[in-house]
């Protein structure tokens, strides 16, 4: 199987500042990759290199071509951060202007429908809201009928409805076999869409894998309930790491939720308003990046 992106030993410096420190990864056809990392982690630098905006090493390949080559560009669509607010340009004109530059563009009507901007097609870009502008940018990325999409913070400034529509569209792209590399700050949003996630921290990948694999890095579960039993009783239960008393609510942090629940099965009748929560993805991400920062 041909690889869509192949990167070996990629380093990049801005002057003396080391931004990327030897990245290695591959992206297979049809995969959707979520690129995560805190601000300044190097996400945009990596995307810039893959798009040919910054120089790459000789072992970086995009669609089996050097990044930035004409043949690669014909099959790539990109949606960058920031909006292209050219004064006095209409939505349809901007999309037509993009379409003509690709060998096999999609129809304007199809794209306007996909980005849900049919009624705004004759509006000037400067008259659109932030979310609508992002959708125009998405339309520009899609109109060339690309095999590979680079999306940098695609849902930034979009309202809830636009975000939902956007992720539906990405699901459709996935079904049609497009390969997508997207950067985002919103883990919960991309959870149901991406196949693998790459977490970038200080120029290195601190995690490459699927969401279940990420979740398995942290087994902590929080059990909370009201009870007349003493908090002391719960401290010795298997798996329990910590017991907190919040007014009349007891919170157990367990490293093995299944084991702790099993031990509690004989006392379930004495527990009221039980809630069980796994560690959220956001918390796992924060913990993971915090650990790496300390290192």
């Amino acid at each position: 199987m041909k690889k869509v992106i192949e990167v070996q030993n990629l380093y990049f410096n801005y002057g003396t500042k080391k931004v990327l420190k030897g990245l290695n990864f591959i992206v297979n056809p049809g995969e959707i990759i979520g690129l995560l990392g805190s601000n300044g982690a190097g996400k945009t630098t990596l995307l810039s290199i893959l798009l040919g905006l910054l120089p790459a090493n000789k072992t970086t390949w995009v669609l089996e071509k050097s990044p930035g080559s004409k043949r690669a560009k014909e099959k790539i669509g990109s949606m960058l951060q920031g909006d292209l607010i050219l004064g006095k340009v209409k939505v349809s004109e901007m999309l037509k202007e993009t379409a003509i530059r690709y060998p096999n563009p999609q129809s304007l009507t199809k794209i306007l429908n996909q980005i849900n901007l049919v009624s705004e097609s004759n509006k000037y870009l400067s008259e659109l809201s932030g979310g609508q502008l992002r959708r125009v940018m998405l339309g520009m990325a899609l109109i060339g009928n690309p095999d590979l999409l680079f999306l940098d913070e695609p849902t930034l400034e979009m309202d809830v409805k636009s975000r939902q529509d956007f992720w539906k569209l990405i699901q459709q792209m996935k079904l049609s076999g497009k390969t997508i590399l997207l950067s985002s700050h919103y883990l919960n949003e991309i959870e149901n869409v991406v196949d693998r996630i790459f977490i970038l921290q200080n120029g290195n990948f601190i995690f490459q894998g699927t969401f279940p694999e990420l979740q398995s890095l942290n087994h902590e579960t929080q059990l909370s309930f009201k009870t007349k039993l003493s908090p002391q009783f719960f401290k010795n239960l298997p798996g329990v790491k910590n017991v907190e008393l919040d007014h009349d609510l007891i919170k157990l942090i367990s490293q093995d939720g299944d084991q702790t629940l099993n031990a509690l099965k004989n006392n379930l009748s004495q527990l009221k308003q039980i809630t069980i929560e796994r560690q959220s993805l956001d918390n796992i991400f924060i913990e993971l990046t915090k650990k790496e920062s300390v290192k």
Partner: protein
């Protein structure tokens, strides 16, 4: 060619037809000054009045392309860069060559149009007329004489901060217009200012236009002067581009 024509249509709409301020500053403002200085403030013997009206026509044509280059072109390129339009063009398979050709052609057309409108106005209000041959020479002269200003406009568009660009544009345009005799005759300036003025590209352009309008013999000095400034500006652009290229293309400053 198809892409170039589409780009030309796209740019013409956004830069010219839907942008009244651009037309105002590059065409109407020099025209306004021409009417003001040759019809309202211009008094004296008829021959002198007509000579001044003819001379000032050349000056305003030069002033128009100077404004167009330093404010119009530089601001446009800066704005397109700031809005990532050039990055976006770079990411397309066809690149941005058609963009630069289209912008250049629009600048040239606007400069010719400005000269034509000034000429028409001179004919209507001052009765000044030129032969077809003079018009062709004027357009030919304009084609070459505008190049140093356009190159300078391109060079200053690399200035990072919009505010700095605005200050630099003002610092170039108005002193250059004054020192090269576009507003007042050079003789009213001190000697040291005259010496500087006489080596400026706008001075050579103005002199060249005057020779054509007054049917004087061709003076090579003006041609060489303009060619010299074209060369200087090309070198300046290469230096600027070298430093910009060295920095790479940034999508965002903090990553």
């Amino acid at each position: 060619m198809k892409i170039f024509l589409q780009q030309l249509k796209f740019d013409s709409k956004r830069i010219v037809f839907r942008n009244q301020s651009y037309i105002f500053f590059t065409i109407l403002l020099p025209l306004f000054f021409y009417v003001l200085y040759t019809k309202i403030f211009n008094t004296g013997p008829t021959t002198q009045v007509l000579t001044y009206a003819k001379t000032f026509l050349g000056s305003m044509a030069v002033y128009s392309f100077l404004i167009n280059a330093i404010f119009g072109l530089a601001q446009l390129l800066k704005s397109d860069k700031d809005h990532k339009y050039l990055i976006w063009l770079y990411l397309m398979p066809k690149g941005y060559l058609s963009y630069y050709f289209s912008i250049s052609l629009i600048m040239v057309i606007i400069n010719i149009l400005s000269l034509g409108i000034l000429g028409l106005c001179a004919f209507l209000i001052n009765g000044i007329s030129f032969t077809i041959q003079q018009w062709l020479f004027l357009i030919g002269g304009l084609m070459l004489a505008q190049i140093p200003s356009l190159l300078l406009g391109y060079a200053v568009s690399f200035i990072k901060k919009r505010e700095t660009l605005s200050i630099v544009s003002n610092l170039i345009t108005f002193p250059l217009a004054i020192v090269s005799g576009l507003w007042w005759p050079l003789s009213v300036l001190p000697n040291w200012a005259q010496s500087i003025g006489k080596i400026m590209p706008t001075y050579f352009a103005n002199q060249w236009f005057n020779q054509i309008m007054f049917n004087q013999p061709f003076v090579w000095k003006n041609f060489y002067g303009i060619m010299f400034w074209i060369l200087i500006n090309i070198v300046l652009i290469q230096i600027v581009r070298f430093f910009v290229k060295k920095q790479g293309i940034f999508l965002q400053n903090d990553e």
